[in-house]
């Protein structure tokens, strides 16, 4: 049954001929590790929460405190990812297009939110934006309160999401030749037209990827947020915190229920972004 001939014909459907052999081995490892590292824990989660049934999940999701937490998490994550999209593009542009003193140092700083323990980031941000902090005090004079409100969550999520946008957009900005802008200018386009029609379309797929990554990261973020959010129920309580709260109350089904709901929404959101991206890639396919 498994004559070499048969196997060869079968394998050809999966892959194009390659000078580097080892498709079977690497594909096997891919499946194994994806299974062990990603799918197994998720399966366990779904299995644990499956006892609840759909109606049980619905009950959890509509529990007012949980619903508020989910709304807070997804809405603020979305806003933070939008802000990161804008500033991340500017940072990536400046770091790639211009050569200035200290550029490499600044470039290294971008990765700090990756490297910093999230709790450290949260405590630092909370200290800065607290009513007696360096930023908090002058802002308080204008009646603006950041720490221990939803704005605090936004600030923390913007902080941790920024590198995702910068790092995905940077290589694409580097590929954009300055001649493209110059060509656009010689053809009479204004600066705004050049940005909107010539520069942004090729960047769109990378921007979407960066947005998706920042958004996904923000949804799962816990450490940095809880220190600055104040965690007031119905106001500035994020969904991941609710999971921890439920766990502390030994409400394992409740915790897994929230987790499953988050997983479903996240998956749907990322799938949607991927579809938009596939469309963008098709539209601007020859980028």
């Amino acid at each position: 049954m498994t004559s070499p001939n048969f196997a060869g014909r079968n394998a050809r459907r999966f892959k194009a001929p390659s000078v580097i052999p080892g498709f079977g081995l690497t594909f096997g490892y891919t499946l194994l590790y994806l299974g062990l590292v990603v799918l197994l824990p998720l399966a366990a989660l779904i299995w644990r929460s499956s006892g609840l049934g759909l109606s049980g999940l619905y009950d959890i999701a509509t529990e007012p405190r949980v619903a508020a937490g989910l709304r807070t998490t997804f809405f603020i994550s979305f806003c933070a990812a939008l802000v990161d999209l804008f500033f991340g593009l500017i940072v990536a542009w400046v770091l790639t297009r211009y050569d200035f003193f200290g550029r490499r140092l600044l470039d290294a700083f971008v990765d700090l939110p990756f490297a910093l323990p999230t709790a450290v980031a949260g405590i630092s941000l909370a200290a800065l934006y607290a009513p007696n902090g360096w930023f908090g005090e002058p802002l308080a004079a204008y009646g603006i309160k950041i720490a221990y409100t939803r704005w605090g969550i936004l600030v923390a999520l913007i902080f941790i999401g920024l590198p995702f946008v910068v790092r995905t957009v940077q290589p694409i900005v580097a590929e954009l030749e300055t001649e493209l802008e110059e060509a656009s200018a010689t053809l009479g386009a204004s600066r705004v037209q050049t940005v909107l029609r010539v520069l942004l379309p090729p960047l769109a797929p990378a921007l979407l990827t960066g947005f998706a990554l920042a958004f996904a990261r923000s949804i799962g973020e816990y450490g940095s947020v809880i220190f600055i959010a104040g965690n007031i129920a119905y106001v500035s309580e994020i969904a991941p915190l609710l999971i921890v709260v439920k766990l502390e109350q030994y409400d394992i089904p409740g915790a897994t229920g929230i987790a499953t709901i988050m997983l479903a929404i996240s998956f749907a959101a990322l799938l949607a972004i991927n579809l938009v991206q596939a469309f963008a890639r098709k539209r601007f396919g020859h980028v």
């Binding site: 030749e177 493209l180 010689t186 386009a189 029609r197 090729p202 020859h286």
Partner: protein, 363 residues
């Protein structure tokens, strides 16, 4: 500065420094309406910088640029109406060929923008003009190098520019495509009648295409002239060696006599100071002397057959360079023979490169 009439483009005293390195030094240049001009020079000679200054992509540190007599030095590039074709084409990869061509029309302010259908018609017309009809729906990545070049040109022509500027238009193409495109560009120029300036480092390209050639070296204009003028009356040692092949013999000038070693060359030294100088001549201008008495003597080092005769490599006495001389079969020299050589035409320049004195032609 006042208005400068009669010229399509006038560049006056333009200087540009990139850091400590002067890219353009006191460049003055007039281009007639409808002229096809080549900026020729080795890399780093400032030819592309000059083209970019004309286009408004570089702002000169000093000097002025005039279009049709009007000072355009401070006119932003968007308002100059120059058609610029970039060396790497700079096509918008996310737009189709037709959208690329139509871009310059689509970005016009609403008041002066043609209707959608008029834009499409114009794009189609240009596609036909650059012989790419039917390829309007493709993306640049799906085109060959020569086709991309044509799209870039059509895109530049779409805005009805007053001048067409091309940076190394054939630089990235293979030899056969280059030749075709060269002929084709000549036709385009004839049909559009546009004042056209192109940059090249290839002297054949410049000489074949251009009405006038501007030879640049180290940011300075060495000579401006028709191809014939550059060949026949090169103004400097640089021009004679860069434009076509040339052999340089070190000589000394003393009291109106030109000496190569201990031999005297019969070259007019009118206007030339005494001192070291160099005699330049084209390989074609030296031949084995028929009379048997030559100004220069050499020894035949090797012989090679060519379709028409024999090519001899000759080592010149008192000089470390060899010459290749073609002669017909009948009076071919033999290997090792000493042969007298005579110069049909030569130019002499003093050795200090700073003091060019145009001397008369030899013999």
């Amino acid at each position: 500065m006042g208005r400068q009439q009669g010229f399509a483009i006038r560049v006056e005293g333009v200087e540009q420094d990139f850091g400590a390195f002067p890219a353009l030094r006191d460049v003055t240049l007039d281009i007639q309406p409808g002229e096809l001009v080549a900026l020729l020079g080795p890399s780093g000679s400032g030819k592309t910088t000059l083209l970019r200054v004309i286009a408004g992509l570089n702002a000169p540190d000093r000097g002025h640029v005039y279009f049709d007599g009007e000072d355009a030095t401070n006119l932003p590039v968007q308002d100059r109406r120059v058609g610029f074709v970039f060396q790497n084409y700079a096509l918008f990869k996310h737009m189709t060929v037709a959208d690329n061509i139509a871009y310059g029309l689509k970005v016009r302010p609403r008041r002066s923008r043609p209707s959608r259908s008029a834009i499409a018609a114009r794009a189609n017309e240009l596609l036909r003009f650059v012989q790419l009809e039917g390829l309007g729906g493709r993306y640049p990545a799906q085109l060959s190098g020569g086709q991309r070049q044509r799209v870039a040109l059509a895109r530049a022509l779409a805005i009805e520019p007053r001048v067409l500027l091309l940076d190394e238009p054939f630089g990235a193409l293979d030899a056969r495509v280059r030749k075709d495109l060269r002929r084709w560009l000549r036709e385009v120029h004839k049909e559009t009648g546009l004042t056209t300036v192109f940059v090249t480092h290839d002297q054949d390209e410049a000489m074949e295409l251009a009405d006038r050639v501007v030879v640049l070296n180290e940011g300075r204009i060495e000579q401006i002239g028709t191809p014939a003028q550059l060949y026949d009356q090169p103004a400097s040692p640089f021009v004679i060696s860069f434009v076509g092949e040339a052999v340089a013999l070190p000589v000394t000038v003393a009291a109106g006599h030109v000496k190569f070693g201990d031999r005297e060359l019969h070259i007019d030294t009118h206007g030339l100071r005494s001192g070291p100088a160099r005699v330049f001549f084209r390989p074609a201008d030296i031949a084995v002397s028929a009379s048997g008495a030559g100004e220069i003597e050499g020894r035949v080092e090797s012989l090679r057959r060519t379709p028409a005769g024999v090519r001899a490599t000759i080592a010149i006495d008192g000089y470390d360079q060899t010459l290749e001389i073609d002669s017909p079969l009948e009076n071919a020299a033999a290997l090792g023979d000493r042969v007298p050589l005579s110069l049909a035409k030569a130019r002499i320049f003093p050795t200090e490169e700073s003091a060019y004195v145009d001397a008369g032609e030899g013999i």
